[in-house]
Symmetry: C2
Subunit: 360 residues, 2 copies
């Protein structure tokens, strides 16, 4: 049978309170008494019951992380950053992978209300915007990645915000392509409703506008509604991207550059390109968002706009833990991190494609 603190107390001839003090190393306990209790605990193999402690303290030292996919190196790296900090602070991570399913996301947010989670970090689209807003206003400790709530502008809540400078990222990537002569730049992204994508797209528009040009909306493709979201297929997201890319290239052969906002789509895009004989980078330039270990080893090595994802994760976790442990903390200003452009070999000037034209 399980041994309880009460039994330890009886056996050691002390009160439960004293046992509790030695378990948690707080309060004053006489050295000899402590030794006696510890001896008893070791003898009977006492293990404290965590759920009882959770109930008594009203805390669980568990944090929820909500992401939309495990296939994206972005989320992996983010999770690593978060977990490294949490572990260091003695917190645990409950992982919720929504796979773009709002229902799953809501179920996990419910755990926050139910007191099973001390706080939550979210890095998802904004389908659950209203729910999140409600939670924030009820002062649950929450940290949002790459997301803003205009409604909260003048409110002092416990919510925290960490972001990459995605506007800057979109702006600079686009400027780079425009300078290389690209005018028909397609974008493939993963979730229509995410603020991350909006930021990048805004940056993109700005780069166009600087040249008196405009984004062509028909070249913006979202793959948020997968053909078969429930299949166990490996590389499911690549499969969606594949058909979308094929369609794009067919209807818009004038595309000379593709921006990939969501890396799980990369395989499908590359396969489609290959099948229709559009070589990278000579026929089409390709740029990914966020770096990942294998990027330099792809064929061709992928040029990417990187974000310090690991640091973003760390910052988010630190912020959340602060907010959990200090209920009065109010940090309204988002933490913003600068991206870095990493040029490899998946982009080429349009002139390479039409050398004759360029020579004129």
């Amino acid at each position: 049978m399980r041994v309880t603190a009460k039994q330890v107390a009886e056996k050691a001839g002390v009160s439960m309170a004293t046992v509790s003090r030695v378990i948690n190393r707080n309060g004053y306990v006489d050295a000899s008494v402590r030794a006696r209790i510890e001896k008893v605990m070791a003898e009977v193999g006492y293990v404290p019951n965590r759920t009882a402690k959770n109930l008594a303290t009203g805390r669980t030292r568990t944090v929820g992380l909500i992401i939309t996919s495990l296939q994206s190196p972005y989320f992996i790296r983010l999770t690593e950053g978060i977990q490294d900090v949490l572990e260091n602070k003695g917190y645990h991570l409950l992982l919720c992978n929504t796979k773009f399913n709002t229902k799953i996301e809501l179920e996990n947010l419910q755990l926050l209300r139910e007191g099973m989670l001390d706080g939550v970090i979210t890095s998802t689209g904004n389908l659950t915007h209203e729910v999140m807003l409600g939670l924030v206003r009820q002062n649950y400790p929450m940290v949002f990645i790459n997301r803003v709530f205009d409604e909260l502008k003048d409110e002092a809540t416990r919510a925290g915000f960490v972001m990459g400078d995605l506007h800057y990222a979109g702006l600079n990537v686009t400027r780079y392509l425009l300078e290389q002569g690209h005018r028909n730049i397609a974008v493939l992204y993963g979730a229509a409703n995410s603020t991350s994508n909006q930021f990048r797209l805004e940056g993109m528009s700005q780069a166009y506008a600087a040249l008196g040009l405009r984004v062509r909306p028909e070249l913006l493709r979202c793959v948020a509604n997968p053909p078969d979201p429930s299949s166990g297929l490996n590389d499911k997201e690549g499969a969606w991207a594949y058909s979308e890319t094929l369609e794009l290239l067919q209807t818009h052969p004038e595309v000379t550059a593709i921006l990939v906002f969501y890396h799980p789509m990369l395989t499908g895009i590359m396969q489609a390109l290959r099948e229709v004989g559009r070589n990278v980078p000579d026929s089409v330039s390709l740029i990914g968002f966020d770096d990942f270990p294998l990027a330099p080893y792809l064929d061709p090595p992928l040029t990417v706009m990187d974000q310090p994802v690991y640091e973003i994760g760390r910052a988010a976790a630190r912020l959340l833990v602060h907010k959990i442990e200090d209920a009065t903390l109010r940090v309204a200003e988002p933490i913003v991190m600068k991206p870095e452009f990493i040029i490899r070999r998946s982009c080429a000037p349009v002139a390479n494609r039409y050398p004759a034209l360029a020579a004129e």
Copy 2:
């Protein structure tokens, strides 16, 4: 303030027991009474407290998953399989990423003893062998991936086992290379102590033995002890593999094939190969273990021995949930899944390298 079931009961003019019955939809409750209680719950915004429920029921509907890295597509896919099943059964996932740190692993195992976890799935090396064994003998619900306990052979415990046929995998990959004329096959693996590696190595030996040959132990390299395990460096594991590979190629230039048991090492291996001018596959053949979405897009496309990782994950989660929900369940037989060899372009016969020799 938080609303409790007690307050709901008072407001609805019933007892807590009845409220509990409507929350959990069990026991008999008169339709009109149920409606009244539900109305009150909605009005006051009642949310049940999960930690209290956990304490009262002695269960948390939370399962721990212990893996050693998030950088390996193997663990990612495994996690997806596990999570898809858990979510479907109403369980949550507490993720423990040990990064080969035994201390972290032990801390998470402790959560099982402390009643915070209903069960645990482990897919790690066997540094914690004794601890695991103790837990199993105390009848905690546990499922092990790619691991066996000879000690448990004749005991009826609650432990479950799911494995890929790694012996078969090692055997066939090696046979394939031997048939292509390779005799100096190096192996780079991630954790010296893992049974998965042992199984593969045994298969390998068998393939050698069939030709009257033997494995050359000096060509087996483990990268379990990283130069800097705590750095936040992206692609840390690739960095370890890089230096190990460099050293290997320098001391053993006769190597014509490399088997990679742990994919996060791939980047470092490829870079080292590139730097010393050993072209894949003409100068060195490369085979990876387990497929992943980007494998066909590497330069060159990677030949791999794949495992049905997603299915392994699903099977493990199903088994664990069974064991949690039926304390009498005793399934000693491991579930074994067959691997599949996927040939792409990272292997070439040795004859390609020494055509003159082959022509003799």
